[in-house]
Amino acid sequence: MSSNEAVGKVRRTQVSLASVVVATALAWGAAVWLSIRLLIGFAQWNFDPGPVADGLLPHVALAVALATAGVLLWRGRFAWRRERTALWIEERAPELRYALVTLVDPSCASMPERAQLESMVARIRTGPFLRRALAHSLVPAVIALAVSGAVFAAAPSEWRGGLQDRHRLSSVDPDGKPLAEMPSRIGSVTARVTPPAYTKLPSQKLTDPLKISGVVGTRVAVSGRGSVEGITATLGEKGLDVRGRAEGWAAQFSLPEKAVAFTLVDRQYKRVIVIDPQPDLPPDVRLVQPGMDATLRAPTGSLRLEARITDDFGIARARIEYIVSSGEGEGNITSRTGELGARLLHGDKAGHLSLTVPYSHFKLQEGDVLSVSAVAYDANDITGPGKGRSETRNIRIARASEYDTLAITPAPPAFDKTAMSLRMLIIAAEKLVRERPRLKREAFVDRSLKLGHQAEGIRQKLQAIIDEQRGTDAGGAAAFAADPKLMDAMNNMWDGVRALNVAEPGEALPPLRRAYRILRELSNAAKYYLRGTTPPVIVNVERVRLTGEEPVQATARKPRTEADTSRDKLMADYGRAVELLRTDRGRALELFMTMQVTALRESPASAEALGRAIAAIHAGDDMKASLLESRRAIEGASRTVNALPAWSNSW
């Protein structure tokens, strides 16, 4: 055997040893990485260590694995040098007595004993040494790798993925890209908002909305691109069905009655949209005629009924409802109900009812009370129909026995129109007085006479009202006294008419203004009650104080819990949201939107300000002003005290 053969044997052993060392290091490193990764996944899934830890822990696993492999490579570093490999062989074959080390040492190349040494080396076989080394180092490493790999494969997928891949999906996107590697599928969404048909409002398409508003019952379809798998949607607390479509996914719902948050989740991504439903208000119904309650001497003549109705979207139908109550007291009160003048309004936003009904229609008797009110229904066929009702007017028929004590007034006419005409007449008279210096006498007199003619018309209307109040008996004489205020207005109107007819509008103005003021007072007069006031019964409190003999078993009073107002909660959330803005803009935005949902229900002014702040945060604009506005809106008006604060001592 030549010395080259000895060196070759050492080199082959060195290559084999190096391979074992590297394989062992890699196997142990991989086993350690799998084990730590599984532990981290378990911890992340169960304890939610937070976003920072979520990012760091996978790197920690890799570092530990690399360190393990590095240590093992360092320990096997002898395999990189030929002399150390030769020594490694010598350790396992002591009969060589350093013959191999000597042969591979370049400084011994010319030794005369080389032939003897080479014969000693030729008798040694290194294969068994290598197999033993393989069994001692590589086999345990491979076993460890196999075990850890098997455990990793058998563990729940959530542990393998941890929080970051909590929603990792096994499927792939239609494009062939694994979903776990895809960007958010809810980052860009479209909302189609379809109001109920009865509102006659058009549908609209919103791109990436922060808030969706509409009347209660409006259909909303939120859609986006990508596969549907793993996307969840909730409306408040209620889960929604998210369905796949040819071009993506979509979730549909109807706007509820109260503001809620619509939340979309796609793996680690989350998106909140504020749902701001607007109620469909019931029709606003005003009973114009009769203008006020009244008591009639007898149910003769006709009752004029007139109502005005408005609605935010459309009125379906309206009618007058009446109740006739008969009887005086306990046990004998009876009633009849009925409807009049029912009318279809076909979804118009405004309408009116107008009819005249003879009193005989109601079959009224002495002491009966006729209550009339107007009712309207809107066209809401989703959450309605909304019902609006006007104030009630009561027309009472006096009993014969009440004639001596009860003030009888007929159903009053509308003062408003008379008063309005008078107001315009006064304005015209004031204008004439102002223009008097510039007018020729003929023109001035002509205009004054025209005003006098108009004033006379108003006076005659008043006279008609007074005549109606007075009524007439069989002999043609007045049956009742007219309202003294009406008489006062009438007298002032007489004075005004006279002054205008002699071309003295300046002198006509004071009485006309007095008449106007009186008519306004009558128009706004408080309604009086039908039965008078209760007789006062005064209790002798001191005489009866604590003389009761019934057994008392009062329970202890439990103090009420301190009211935690929605404003307090909003302020607390506001502080947290502002803090979050510094560390996690996404979660801060989410919290602001949740606050807006609360504010929409309880503090609409705050909701508007929060909406502006959300828009600024979302757009990345300067948000200071809108945040300040939000805080002020949530805090409400400043409270003032009637004292100087303590720091103003010097004042």
Binding site: I333, T534, V537, Q553
Partner: protein
């Protein structure tokens, strides 16, 4: 502390003054069993007036249809929302009578559906103990009205507290007597009135 005033709410559509002696009977009971400062005669205040909001307790009754004006409805809502205790009692005690029908409609329109008050509610225990719920009135038993014993009172809740109590029991008839008449009665029927006042003032 200002003295308690028993307020009768005046409303425009009906006979609000149909139980004129009731305030005195309840005031008398409050004075007999408690040391609450109490004004010796009741007040009648229009429901449509802001003045009613200055009081914590108000009673409304009648036989005729109840149709609130906008101002009355607005004030009733304010009264309850601000922590007042409003009692509406059907003087007809008809389960489908005109007062019940119209008053319930007005309440529902203003606050939403009425809810039953359970027998273990504090209003039955806060002063006198009424383990069987609202005390039965003689008018329920004597065959008048709907000839029914109404087992429950109904309420509009303001948080966990009763804001409006609605009764078909006709306490307006049962308690509508001069306080001096109590000496002829075996049991003071206005004891439940004390519970109402105590509940209104302390709970």
């Amino acid at each position: 502390m200002s003295a308690f005033s028993f307020v009768t709410a005046m409303y425009e559509s009906g006979d609000w003054e149909s139980a004129p002696s009731l305030p005195a009977a309840v005031i008398d009971a409050v004075a007999r069993y408690t040391d609450l400062p109490v004004v010796p005669s009741g007040l009648s205040i229009p429901l449509g007036s802001e003045e009613i909001l200055e009081h914590p307790f108000a009673w409304l009754t009648g036989h005729l249809p109840v149709r609130f004006t906008d101002a009355e409805r607005r004030n009733l809502r304010k009264f309850v929302e601000r922590g007042g205790f409003f009692v509406i009692d059907d003087h007809n005690h008809d389960i489908d009578g005109i007062f019940h029908k119209t008053a319930a409609e007005e309440i529902t329109r203003t606050f939403g559906e009425l809810k039953r008050v359970p027998y273990d509610h504090e209003i039955y225990r806060c002063f006198f103990d009424f383990p069987d719920g609202p005390p039965t009135t003689s008018h329920e038993l004597n065959g008048w009205g709907d000839q029914l014993v109404h087992e429950h009172l109904l309420a509009v809740m303001n948080g966990d507290r009763i804001g409006l109590l609605y009764s078909n029991k006709d306490y307006s008839s049962e308690w509508n007597f001069h306080p001096d008449s109590k000496k002829f009665m075996a049991v003071d029927p206005t004891r439940f009135g004390v519970n109402l006042v105590v509940y209104a003032l302390t709970r």
